[in-house]
Symmetry: C2
Subunit: 113 residues, 2 copies
C-alpha cells in the first residue's frame, strides 16, 4: 500500500501552480505503473487495467467513479471489453496536481483490494 | 423511435463482410447524430452525449453497458464529468456491421427514455 493513497484530495482552485518536473519525479515512483501522457499539450496520468470481461471492466469503472465522487475529483475513464483506462489530471489548472497522484494511488488500491 | 432500434444483434463472425459505403449511407440517417470516425484505419460510430454531472454520466455508462451485455455486443465508452462518448464497431471484422447501427439506435433510445 502506497503512502500517497492515504492522503485526501484538497480543493484545487484555478491559478494554483501545476507540479514541477522535480515534484512529478518525486511522486511518480509511488504510482510507477502510471504513464505521464500529454493530450493536447496537457499532461495526464494514465494507466490501463486488464480485466476479465466487460462486466468486470464496468464494475471497476464504477468503483473508480465512486472514489471520484467521494473525493470530488473526477477522471476520464475508458471502458472496453476486458480493459479500463483511467486518466487523472486537474482541469482547473490544466495540468497535474498532487491530487492526481493521490487518486492514481487510490485507483491502484481499488484494483489490489 | 427509429425502426433500427427494434432489431436485435446477430452473431457476427470473423470473415463476414463489413458494410459497404452504400449500406452505411442507407443506415446513417436513422442514427444521424452519430459520426463515422476512423481510428487506426477502422471506422467506428461515435456519439458524444452531454450529461449534467459525473454521477449522471456514470449512470448512463451503466445503462449502455447493460444493453451491451444483453445484446452480446460491447462498445468503448468514455466517461467524463458531464459527458459520455460511445463508440460502436465490430472488432471481429475490423469495421462496421449492421449490429453497430442497431446498437447506436438503441443507445439513442436509452438517452431519450
Amino acid at each position: 500500500m502506497s503512502q500517497l493513497s492515504q492522503f485526501q484530495c484538497v480543493a484545487c482552485r484555478g491559478g494554483e501552480p501545476t507540479l514541477s518536473d522535480a515534484e512529478i519525479a518525486e511522486l511518480h515512483p509511488q504510482v510507477a505503473d502510471w504513464q505521464v501522457r500529454e493530450v493536447a499539450g496537457i499532461p495526464r496520468l494514465e494507466r490501463v487495467y486488464k480485466l476479465k470481461s466487460y462486466v468486470d471492466a464496468l464494475a471497476f469503472t464504477n468503483r473508480v467513479g465512486a472514489i471520484a465522487e467521494e473525493q470530488g475529483h473526477h477522471p476520464l475513464i475508458i471502458t472496453e471489453w476486458g480493459r479500463v483506462t483511467v486518466q487523472w489530471w486537474s482541469h482547473k489548472i490544466k495540468g497535474l496536481h498532487k491530487n492526481d497522484f493521490i487518486m492514481a494511488a487510490k485507483t491502484d488500491e481499488l484494483m489490489e483490494s
